[in-house]
C-alpha cells in the first residue's frame, strides 16, 4: 500500500496538479492504477480545449482592443482641445538626497527604506479582501491579500479580458481530474510563450493565444502547433514580425524599411532547434526574409478582418531563399509554411523538445536514456505530442526518479486550491500571488519563458514568500476543515511521520494548514 501511495504521489504531483480535497477520491484512484489515472485524460483530446461563456476569438478581441484604443485617443484629443495650454505633469523626480551617510547602520537604513514606502502601504485591513476565497466560505478578513491602495476604477476591456481568460484557466486547473493535460498546456504555453507586458494587444490576446494556438495541438502534432503559434497575431506582435518587411518587397521599397529578425531567431533558438541546433546567422536572416509578410490585419482591415492573421504579399521578400542548406522557392505564404514544416522535423528539434520535456516532468538533469527514447518517438511519429506524452507516462524512469523537482508558483497555487477544494470566482488572489512569486501569468520576462529548474523556484526569498502566501491561505481557512484530513487526501500513507507530527502539533488550525501547504509532500513533485 505504501508503494502504491508513492506511485499515486508521482501520478498526482509529477504529472498532475495534485489531489483534490473533498470527496474526489483522487489519491485512492491514483493509487489503484497510477498510469491509467494519468493517461485517462489523454484519451479525451477535446477536454484540452477551453471554452467558457464570454471568451472571444483573437479577431474579436483585436477589434475590441482597437475600439478601446480609439476611444482613449479621442478622449485624450478632446481633453487637449479643452485645455490646450495644460502640459502633462512631468514624472515626479524627488531631489537627490545628498545627506552624508556616515555611521549609519544597516538596520537604520532598512527601517528608513521601509518607512519611505509607508505611504504606499496597501490598506490591507480597511479594504475588503479580494473575493477569491472569501466567496468560498473562508474567513474573509483575517488577512487580506496584497492589494493596491488605488481607489477602485472600472476595469477597461483589456484588463477585464485578461482577468476573464485567467479565471477560465484557473478554474479548469482547479477542477480537472488529474491535471496532466493542463500541465501539458502550461508546458507548451511556456515553451511558446508570449508576454502580456509587450503591450495592450499582447495582454488582450494572451489567453486567446493559448486557447487557439496551444490547446488544440497539445495532443496533436508539433508541426501544427508550431504553425499555429508562428501565425498567431499574439506571437507576431510579441516578436515584432508584423513590422518586418522584405527589403525588396513593394512595402519595403516604398516605406524604406526592412527586416526584423527577432521572431526568426527565436523560432530556431527557442521554439525548435535550440542553441547549437545547427543554424547560423545566415539562416536566421534567411528565415526572417521567408516569413516577411506574416502579420495580422490592423484596425482598418485592409488585408483581412481586423485582428486576424494575414499574409501581406506586398511585404514579402521576393525570390527563393536558402535555409539550413535547402532552397525554398518563392511561393508566398507557402514558402514559410514549408520551412516551418521542415524545421519541425529537424533532428535538433526532436532532441531539443525531448530534453526540455523530460526536464520539465522528471528531473533537472534529464535521464539520457529517457530523452533518447522520447526523441525517437518524436522522430518516428513525426512529432505526435500525444505519443510523446504517452511514452513519458509509460517509461520507468518517470516513476522511479525521486520527487526532487520543485513545484513552480503556479503549480503550487493550483495544487493548494485543489486540495482546499476552492474553485476561484475571482482571479485576483492567484494573479497577485503569481506576481509576488515571480511567475506573473502569461508574462515571462523574455521569450525563453519561465525557468524550469528547482534552483529557480527554491530560492531563499521565494521560499519565504511562499510561506507568507501559505499563511494567508491558512489564515482564511474555515473552521470546518481539518488539516490532517487534507494531508490524507494529499499524500495518504506516503506522508512522512515528521510532516504528520508537525501538522498535529501545530498551535492552530491555520498554522497547521500553512505548514501542510509548505510541506515537502506538497512542494516537491
Amino acid at each position: 500500500m505504501a508503494r502504491d501511495s508513492q506511485a499515486a504521489l508521482v501520478a498526482l504531483n509529477r504529472f498532475g496538479f495534485g489531489a483534490r480535497g473533498g470527496a474526489s477520491g483522487d489519491l485512492v484512484n491514483a493509487a489503484s492504477d497510477p498510469r491509467g489515472f494519468v493517461k485517462a485524460e489523454l484519451a479525451r483530446p477535446v477536454g484540452v480545449l477551453l471554452e467558457a461563456p464570454g471568451l472571444q476569438s483573437t479577431p474579436q478581441l483585436g477589434q475590441a482592443a482597437f475600439a478601446y484604443q480609439d476611444q482613449v485617443k479621442q478622449a485624450r484629443e478632446a481633453a487637449k482641445t479643452a485645455a490646450p495650454t495644460e502640459a502633462p505633469a512631468p514624472p515626479a523626480d524627488p531631489k537627490p538626497d545628498n545627506q552624508l551617510r556616515r555611521n549609519l547602520s544597516l538596520n537604520t537604513v532598512m527601517t528608513e527604506i521601509a518607512g519611505q514606502r509607508a505611504e504606499a502601504k496597501p490598506a490591507a485591513d480597511s479594504k475588503p479582501a479580494d473575493t477569491a476565497m472569501k466567496a468560498d466560505g473562508m474567513q474573509p478578513n483575517a488577512a487580506a491579500p496584497p492589494t493596491a491602495a488605488k481607489p477602485a476604477q472600472p476595469l477597461n476591456v483589456i484588463q477585464k479580458t485578461f482577468r476573464a481568460e485567467a479565471l477560465a484557466r484557473l478554474q479548469r486547473a482547479v477542477m480537472v481530474d488529474c491535471g496532466f493535460t493542463e500541465r501539458l498546456v502550461v508546458f507548451w504555453s511556456n515553451h511558446f510563450c508570449i508576454s502580456a507586458s509587450k503591450g495592450e494587444l499582447a495582454r488582450m490576446w494572451a489567453g486567446a493565444f493559448e486557447r487557439e494556438a496551444i490547446r488544440p495541438h497539445v495532443l496533436g502534432r508539433f508541426a501544427d502547433m508550431l504553425k499555429a503559434v508562428e501565425q498567431h497575431p499574439a506571437m507576431l506582435f510579441f516578436l515584432d514580425n508584423q513590422q518586418s518587411l522584405g527589403p525588396d518587397s513593394r512595402a519595403g521599397q516604398n516605406r524604406k524599411r526592412g527586416l526584423n529578425e527577432n521572431l526568426a531567431r527565436e523560432i530556431m533558438e527557442l521554439h525548435t532547434l535550440g542553441v547549437g541546433g545547427g543554424y547560423i546567422q545566415e539562416d536566421v536572416t534567411s528565415l526572417a526574409r521567408i516569413i516577411t509578410g506574416w502579420t495580422f490585419a490592423g484596425r482598418k482591415g485592409q488585408i483581412g478582418a481586423p485582428g486576424s492573421f494575414a499574409f501581406n504579399a506586398n511585404a514579402h521578400q521576393p525570390g527563393p531563399q536558402v535555409l539550413l542548406g535547402k532552397t525554398y522557392d518563392a511561393t508566398g505564404l507557402a514558402q514559410g509554411e514549408a520551412a516551418l514544416a521542415d524545421i519541425a522535423r529537424h533532428p535538433s528539434t526532436a532532441n531539443f523538445i525531448a530534453t526540455k520535456f523530460v526536464r520539465h516532468f522528471v528531473a533537472d538533469d534529464p535521464p539520457p536514456a529517457l530523452v533518447a527514447r522520447l526523441r525517437d518517438v518524436f522522430v518516428k511519429t513525426d512529432g505526435d505530442l500525444k505519443a510523446l506524452a504517452t511514452a513519458l507516462v509509460d517509461s520507468d524512469e518517470a516513476w522511479k526518479a525521486p520527487l526532487t523537482k520543485m513545484r513552480s508558483p503556479y503549480d503550487f497555487l493550483i495544487a493548494s486550491g485543489r486540495l482546499l477544494a476552492r474553485v476561484p470566482e475571482d482571479p485576483g488572489f492567484y494573479l497577485n500571488s503569481l506576481n509576488l512569486l515571480g511567475q506573473p501569468l502569461w508574462t515571462p520576462a523574455g521569450p525563453n519563458g519561465f525557468p524550469d529548474t528547482t534552483a529557480a523556484w527554491a530560492a531563499p526569498e521565494g521560499m519565504k514568500l511562499r510561506l507568507d502566501i501559505a499563511s494567508q491561505m491558512g489564515a482564511r481557512l474555515g473552521p470546518n476543515i481539518d488539516p490532517l484530513d487534507l494531508l490524507e487526501f494529499a499524500a495518504g500513507d506516503a506522508a512522512s511521520t515528521e510532516t504528520r507530527k508537525t501538522i498535529e502539533r501545530a498551535e492552530s488550525r491555520q498554522q497547521a494548514l500553512a505548514l501542510l501547504l509548505m510541506s515537502p509532500e506538497l512542494q516537491r513533485r
Binding site: P91, D97, L100, R101, R102, L104, L106, N107, M110, T111, I113, R117, A118, A120, P122, D130, P146, T147, A148, Q153, L155, Q159, F162, S197, D240, L245, P247, R257, G258, L259, N260, N262, E269, V275, L436, L437, G438, P440, P444, A445, G446, F450, P451, A458, A459, P460, E461, G462, K464, L467, D468, S471, E498, T499, T502, R505, Q511, L515, M518, P520
Partner: protein
C-alpha cells in the same frame, strides 16, 4: 486591486524571482590590511540584459560611416536633442546628463568596441558568458564576481539586515555567501510557523531548510513594513532599486560589493534616437547611477560602478528602425574611484570591411580586461587569481591598467 499584473515587479530576463528589481551583495565586508588609509572600496556591477546598443549610447559621431549605418536613430551633436560631445569623436546620448556630468568631473569613463569572448548572438548564452566569466556558454554554477569574492580576505559579516538574495544574478552566484534585498509587499508569516517549518525541512528536506532559513533572515526592520514599489514605470523602478541599494551600501556595516540587473534593452524595433524607447531606458540607467552617487554620499569617493551587457547590436539599423543582435558594444564605469573623463577605445572603424561578420561593431577590447582592471584597482587581486579563478583560462586578457584612481 485594479490590475495586479500592471503592478508586477520587474522580472529578469532569466525570469528569476523579482530579478530585475533585486539587489544582491556579498555577505561579508572585505578585510584589507590597508584599511588604515581610510579607503573603503565599493563595487557595483550593473548587468543590462537584452544587449545594449553601444553605438546608440556612446555614438562615434566622428566616424564618417556612423550616421549612414545608424540611419534614422543616429545621434548627432546638433539638432533639437544634441548628443553630448565627449572627446571630439564620441558623443553621449542626451538622455544621460548625470553620466555626462560625472564624465566632465572625471568620475566616469567609457570603454568602446568591447565584448566578452562570446561571438554568437543568443541572449541567454551571451548572458551566461558575461556573468559566469567563462570563455563559453554552459557554465552556470558560479559567476565571476562570486569567485572574486572568494579570493578576498573575509572580514565581518554585514549586518543581518539582508536576506540571501531572492534571485541572485548569475554574476554573483556561487559558493561565497550573498545577501539581497528586493522591494516586496506581503503580510508575513509569523516566526513560530516559520520555525516549525524550518524544523520539518531539517528532517525531511535539507535543501529547502537551507533556502527557507536564509530567506527568513530578512530583518525585522523590513518585515511588517511595506516595501512595495510605488506604481510606476520601469525607469522609476530602476531608480528605486538603485536608491535602496545605495542606502544599504552606504551603511558602515552594509555590503561593499553588489550586483544588479536591469532588463529590457533588446531594441529590435522602434529603438528611437535621441528620444524614444532606448532614450527612456538610458534615462533610467542614468537616474540609477545618480541614485548611487547621492545615496553613497562620501562613500562614492571609493566606489566603482561597472555597467556591462551581453553583446551589442547591429551597426546598421534593421528594417524596423531598431537593431538586431550584434557583437561589439560599450562598457561604462562610474564612481569617485574611476579615473574618468575618457573614452577608452581601439576604434575599429565602421567601414564595411571593418565590421565583424560585415554587420556588427568589431570588438577590439576584451571586456574581461576591463573588469580585471577594476577588480585589481579596487581590491588588488593578483593577475593569477584573475586569469585562473575569476576568469578561467583568460591569461591572454591582461588587466587594463589605470582604470581606478
Amino acid at each position: 486591486m485594479v490590475d495586479c499584473v500592471e503592478n508586477r515587479l520587474l522580472t529578469s530576463r532569466r525570469g528569476l524571482l523579482l530579478g530585475g528589481a533585486s539587489f544582491a551583495a556579498w555577505a561579508y565586508l572585505p578585510k584589507f590590511a590597508s584599511a588604515a588609509d581610510g579607503r573603503d572600496p565599493r563595487l557595483v556591477v550593473v548587468i543590462l540584459r537584452g544587449a545594449l546598443d553601444g553605438l546608440a549610447t556612446v555614438a562615434p559621431v566622428g566616424d564618417p560611416d556612423y550616421a549612414g549605418l545608424h540611419g534614422s536613430i543616429a545621434l548627432a551633436v546638433d539638432g533639437a536633442h544634441p548628443a553630448t560631445g565627449l572627446d571630439g569623436f564620441f558623443a553621449l546620448h542626451p538622455a544621460m546628463p548625470e553620466f555626462a556630468r560625472m564624465y566632465r568631473d572625471q568620475h566616469a569613463a567609457v570603454i568602446h568596441a568591447v565584448a566578452t569572448p562570446y561571438r554568437d548572438r543568443s541572449h541567454f548564452d551571451g548572458q551566461d558568458v558575461l556573468e559566469s566569466g567563462y570563455a563559453g556558454p554552459g557554465r552556470v554554477q558560479s559567476g565571476w564576481l562570486n569567485r572574486a569574492l572568494e579570493a578576498l580576505p573575509r572580514g565581518e559579516r554585514v549586518s543581518s539586515g539582508l536576506a540571501i538574495g531572492p534571485t541572485t544574478p548569475l554574476v554573483l552566484r556561487g559558493s561565497a555567501p550573498t545577501v539581497g534585498w528586493a522591494p516586496v509587499a506581503l503580510p508575513q508569516a509569523d516566526d513560530d510557523t516559520a520555525m516549525r517549518l524550518v524544523d520539518l525541512y531539517r528532517h525531511r528536506d535539507p535543501a529547502l531548510a537551507s533556502a527557507l532559513s536564509q530567506g527568513l533572515q530578512l530583518e525585522k526592520a523590513a518585515s511588517g513594513d511595506d516595501m512595495k514599489p510605488k506604481p510606476g514605470n520601469q525607469v522609476a523602478q530602476m531608480r528605486q532599486v538603485a536608491r535602496g541599494a545605495a542606502k544599504l551600501m552606504a551603511a558602515d556595516d552594509g555590503p561593499r560589493i553588489a550586483a544588479l540587473a536591469f532588463d529590457g534593452w533588446d531594441t529590435h524595433a522602434n529603438e528611437g534616437g535621441p528620444v524614444g524607447r532606448l532614450a527612456f531606458l538610458l534615462g533610467g540607467l542614468d537616474g540609477a547611477l545618480a541614485e548611487f552617487e547621492s545615496g553613497l554620499g562620501d562613500r562614492w569617493r571609493d566606489t566603482v560602478v561597472i555597467v556591462a551587457t551581453e553583446f551589442g547590436r547591429t551597426a546598421r539599423i534593421n528594417g524596423t528602425d531598431g537593431t538586431d543582435h550584434g557583437t561589439g558594444t560599450i562598457a561604462l564605469l562610474a564612481g569617485g574611484a574611476v579615473k574618468g573623463g575618457r573614452v577608452i577605445s581601439d576604434w575599429p572603424g565602421l567601414k564595411p570591411a571593418n565590421l565583424f561578420e560585415a554587420r556588427d561593431l568589431k570588438p577590439t577590447t576584451d571586456l574581461r580586461c576591463v573588469i580585471k582592471g577594476v577588480l585589481q584597482g579596487q581590491f588588488s587581486l593578483s593577475d593569477r587569481v584573475l586569469s585562473e579563478t575569476v576568469f578561467p583560462d583568460s591569461a591572454g586578457a591582461r588587466p587594463m591598467k589605470g582604470l581606478v584612481i
